[in-house]
Symmetry: C2
Subunit: 218 residues, 2 copies
DNA sequence: TTTGATATGATTGTCCTGCAATCGACAATG
DNA sequence: CATTGTCGATTGCAGGACAATCATATCAAA
């Protein structure tokens, strides 16, 4: 029918509920730009599409709503959230602050293994920058940032960051407004070094500079 | 039966859905300590209590789940979230960062009216501190902090801060672990002044100091 | 005693049907 | 033209039904 076919041969038994799986699928569609901001989402239509009941879809939509990806107007319907300039500014600033905090924490509790992983991720990014594949660069950049978040060992910070990033990605995908095209690799050098050497103040400052540096809104 | 009695004679016609109203009621119960961490929440029982259908309650529970106030284990049930030391540390650090960001933004865009409101809230807090009513002091303290958030004009920051605060309040109420009992008033003086004078760096630093200052975890 | 298998009850997961409430658009009316 | 009423679409919400899963108790076997 719709979802439940993959029994996940790989040991990891899929215990996810259909509700959250449906939310996952829709989230992907929004982030990838298959569903662009403003698109209306009708519960009954989605239910038929995914082969699920309306109640299940409803829960999934509420979930996405709490993540800021879809918007609900009472009795009228759901739609993919549209962002205005204020929203963009909020996402930028919030992301900068969160990433700064993550960099500080990561620097405070950096260990040898963490530093190794961080340097490796950075080298990977640097290598891809030379090749010029924009999609790959973007992914490697995101990986590097997410690794910093992981190294901060702060689950709430991680999930909050993920939320901001998702809203951001949905906007990027829809606006076809590609990431920073140039010199993303070099600008991260100082950040990685600061974290690896445990200099928390510098790490925080560098993280913030890296994000707010390339676009001035408002 | 359960909720919908108040027709809100004061012009403001209640447009909230029963789903979110139910979430509001439960949230209040958790924050006030009527529902302590670990308490099990059964959908059918709640439905009967509030006079609502199970589906409605389900949506409300998922909402509270996304706010971190209740926890769900699949097929087993819901319960009021219990926080461990790591969680407490996460909440403290996240709150400090968010409040620092808010103080910075507030200082950057402070206006005469905002400064007036801020000074007034601070004077109110100071006055209550002399009287010694702990509950009133706590409320005034929360009001002051929330005013700073409001002055930052950052809706996402505001809602994120609210989430952290709610989890925090739920813990406080349950643990009966009262807020900072002493000198809360004086410690905020520098913060208020920095914001009113537009000194964003100092405002951010003071805000962080005020939060992390009174308890060292981990 | 310990382990493992089985039965059982509680609770959620998911589906269904049905209807009321509300919104948006458009026609009718003055 | 402005107002009002109607109508279709969609969500809001209720209630019932059953499967899936978990937690626990129970019993059998080693």
């Amino acid at each position: 029918m719709g979802i439940q076919e993959e029994m996940n041969k790989s040991a990891k038994i899929s215990k996810r509920s259909l509700e959250s799986q449906a939310a996952d699928l829709m989230r992907e569609d929004i982030i990838n730009g298959n569903l662009t901001p403003g698109t209306r989402l009708v519960e009954t239509t989605l239910a038929k599409e995914y082969g699920l009941s309306r109640g299940t879809i409803r829960i999934a939509l509420h979930q996405l709503g709490s993540e800021g990806l879809v918007t609900q107007v009472p009795y009228a319907g759901w739609s993919v959230t549209e962002l205005n300039d204020q929203d963009l500014w909020e996402l930028y600033t919030l992301r900068a602050t969160l990433e700064g905090m993550a960099a500080r924490l990561a620097a405070e509790r950096i260990c040898e293994e963490g530093a190794e992983r961080l340097r490796e991720a950075y080298q990977q990014l640097l290598a891809l920058c030379k090749l010029g594949d924009l999609k790959a660069i973007t992914r490697a950049d995101l990986d590097l940032h997410k690794l910093i978040i992981e190294l901060s060992s702060h689950s709430r910070l991680a999930s909050q960051y993920q939320l901001v990033e998702n809203q951001f990605l949905a906007y990027i995908a829809a606006a076809n407004r590609d990431f920073e095209p140039e010199s993303v690799g070099l600008s991260h050098a100082a950040l990685v070094e600061a974290i690896c050497e445990g200099e928390s103040d510098r790490a925080e400052a560098e993280a913030i500079r890296n994000i707010t540096g390339f676009e001035e809104l408002r």
